[in-house]
């Protein structure tokens, strides 16, 4: 069975800028796949390569085993939820949702019925008569989702769909999107720069950096066993040690990652000076200096918090120090 989406050695250069640099990956059918990375890392360009808004400079994008070279966006079985939603301002909500069906030449009755069903699906029934300008950001986002879903795409592309929403709404939409994906059962490819969003929603995550994929894996793999220093630092923050530091603390000459929450205050361990503390609600973050290096630690709620300037002893479990490839 072919993958829903496959990248074979894909490059996309803009002049001298290597937006996407030799990316190969496969996205399985029915998967909730996140492309995670900082801005300018090439994740959005990859999404646009799937949608057909960009053409690879080199390599090939395949959708369900079919090469997409020379195939325009309007002939691809994928649909997109745009970052700015891209709702047509001159059409009301129902006509926005039914746009693709109208283009496909469906009858008026059928269009209306399906568009209303799609609005029900995104929990926006009865909004058909409004203009996009009269909706809130969250509602627009749902309309954009309905407009894509009504086309029954085999792959749904989402470009930072929650980026413009406030925190509370974003958390709610994360759960809804996840539930929706299970309900319609199609492949979701999701671009985000928010590692928390990727971790909580995706089946698998591709971490992008400077046009390349640093690691592909399940959220647990990416978080617990980052392949490289960039991944360790970008997905949840981490204390990244270069080989000489790792050698000093663990006797191995390799890059290593140590999660802040793995660091504990112990009776006998490595001395570290407390530089600053910050209360985060669920925990307290300690900014430490250990053997001339900055180290961050997270103390669980209820622990005794040392004063800045104090010297404490810290330690961690052997398995907490995760060894990685170099950058």
């Amino acid at each position: 069975m072919p993958s829903a989406v496959e990248f074979r050695d894909v490059c996309r250069f803009f002049g001298t800028v290597r937006a996407v640099d030799r990316v190969s990956m496969e996205i399985a059918e029915g998967e909730f796949f996140a492309m995670l990375g900082p801005s300018g890392s090439g994740k959005t360009t990859c999404l646009r390569l799937i949608a057909g808004f960009e053409q690879p400079t080199h390599g090939e994008v395949r959708i369900f085993g079919e090469g997409m070279g020379g195939v325009p966006p309007y002939r691809r079985a994928v649909n997109t939820v745009f970052q700015d939603y891209a709702l047509f301002p001159h059409l009301n909500v129902i006509d926005n949702v039914a746009y693709g069906l109208m283009i496909a030449g469906r009858g008026r009755q059928e269009r209306r019925r399906e568009a209303e069903a799609a609005l029900d699906l995104v929990k926006l029934p009865g909004y058909g008569g409004r203009k996009p300008g009269e909706l809130s950001g969250g509602q627009r986002q749902r309309v954009a989702l309905a407009r894509a879903l009504v086309m029954k795409p085999r792959v749904l592309l989402l470009d930072e769909p929650l980026g413009a929403l406030d925190l509370k709404l974003r958390e709610q939409m994360q759960e809804e999107l996840k539930a929706l994906q299970r309900k319609v059962g199609i492949t979701f490819v999701f671009v985000t720069h928010d590692q928390g969003e990727a971790l909580s929603m995706a089946d698998r995550i591709a971490v992008f950096n400077e046009g390349r994929i640093e690691q592909v894996g399940t959220p647990e793999e990416v978080y617990n066993r980052p392949a490289r220093p960039f991944v360790a630092d970008f997905v949840g923050s981490s204390n990244v040690f270069p080989p000489e530091v790792t050698h000093a603390v663990a006797g191995r000459r390799a890059w290593a990652s140590l999660r802040p929450e793995a660091i504990r205050i112990v009776g006998q361990g490595r001395p570290a000076r407390v530089v600053a503390t910050a209360f985060l609600g669920t925990a307290t973050r300690l900014h430490l200096e250990m053997a001339g290096r900055d180290v961050t630690a997270l103390l669980p709620r209820g622990a005794v918090v040392p004063e800045p300037g104090e010297t404490i002893e810290i330690g961690w479990g052997d398995s907490d120090l995760h060894l990685m490839e170099g950058p």
Binding site: F88, I103, R147
Partner: protein, 268 residues
């Protein structure tokens, strides 16, 4: 700054400036009704509607008006096509020579009208083209393009690229996207640009004197009357009618583009 009222001197200066712009136009209206035939006497010795009737029965006025309207209509149509094509290309593509093309579009209004006029005149002369309706249209369409272009390019830029991508993403090919998404979004801007182009052409005199030969558009008729007055009161009436006729498309263009970030008309 927003909450504070304007200083008095500024209010006065701005108000006086607006008055300076409008009083002369209002004066035209008063003179259309004067009974005085020979001089520009103020205040008018009496008021009459007689000159409207006289003007109405003057065939030369009607011929000039008809020629002006036909020239403006054809020139506007050509300018709409050329200006829209150019605006679409400039808004959607980055290419070598882009700057040169934007300069080329602006040039016919950036250079004094007399340059455009004498250029066309000498080109017709070199190529032995006789003056005709089409030589006037040729000149008018050339400087009308920029008016349409300015209106269209602003709207094209405002119509975000993702709308076009969204349409294609939903299965519409390039032509369907143009018909269902681009056109509805730029229509008012094009209409406004067309109105302004029409007004510009209807009023043009500088280029026209070089490309018209013996033909008389309404502005050329007026110019003749100004240089060699025959019946001043008729000129007064025609002047008033011209003001009214040009105000309509301007107001229409304003209301068509109101509420958008670029309002029509800045690009005369």
């Amino acid at each position: 700054m927003t909450g504070q009222p304007a200083p008095l001197w500024l209010k006065l200066a701005a108000g006086a400036g607006l008055l300076f712009l409008h009083v002369p136009l209002l004066l035209i209206f008063a003179y259309a009704f004067t009974t005085e035939e020979q001089s520009y006497q103020w205040p008018p010795p009496g008021l009459t509607l007689r000159w409207f009737e006289v003007a109405w029965n003057r065939p030369d006025v009607w011929q000039a008006l008809s020629l002006s309207l036909r020239v403006a209509a054809i020139s506007t149509a050509i300018a709409l096509v050329l200006g829209t094509l150019c605006a679409a290309a400039m808004a959607r593509f980055r290419f070598f020579g882009r700057e040169a093309i934007s300069l080329l579009v602006i040039l016919p209004i950036a250079l004094p009208g007399i340059i455009t006029g004498i250029s066309l005149r000498s080109a017709f002369n070199l190529a032995d083209i006789p003056f005709s309706f089409w030589t006037i249209v040729l000149g008018h369409a050339t400087f009308c393009v920029v008016v349409v272009y300015n209106n269209a390019v602003a709207r094209f830029r405002r119509t975000s690229a993702s709308l076009i991508e969204a349409s294609m993403d939903l299965g519409a090919n390039g032509f369907q996207t143009f018909r269902h998404v681009i056109l509805p979004n730029v229509a008012t801007a094009l209409l406004a640009g067309g109105m302004l182009a029409f007004a510009l052409s209807f009023d043009e005199v500088i280029v026209t004197t070089f490309t018209a030969g013996q033909q008389q558009t309404l502005p050329i008729w007026m110019l003749e009357e100004l240089v060699r007055p025959r019946q001043r009161p008729v000129t007064n009436v025609v002047a008033m009618v011209v003001v009214l006729v040009t105000f309509l498309p301007i107001l229409a263009a304003y209301y068509l583009t109101r509420g958008t970030d670029t309002v029509a008309g800045q690009g005369k």
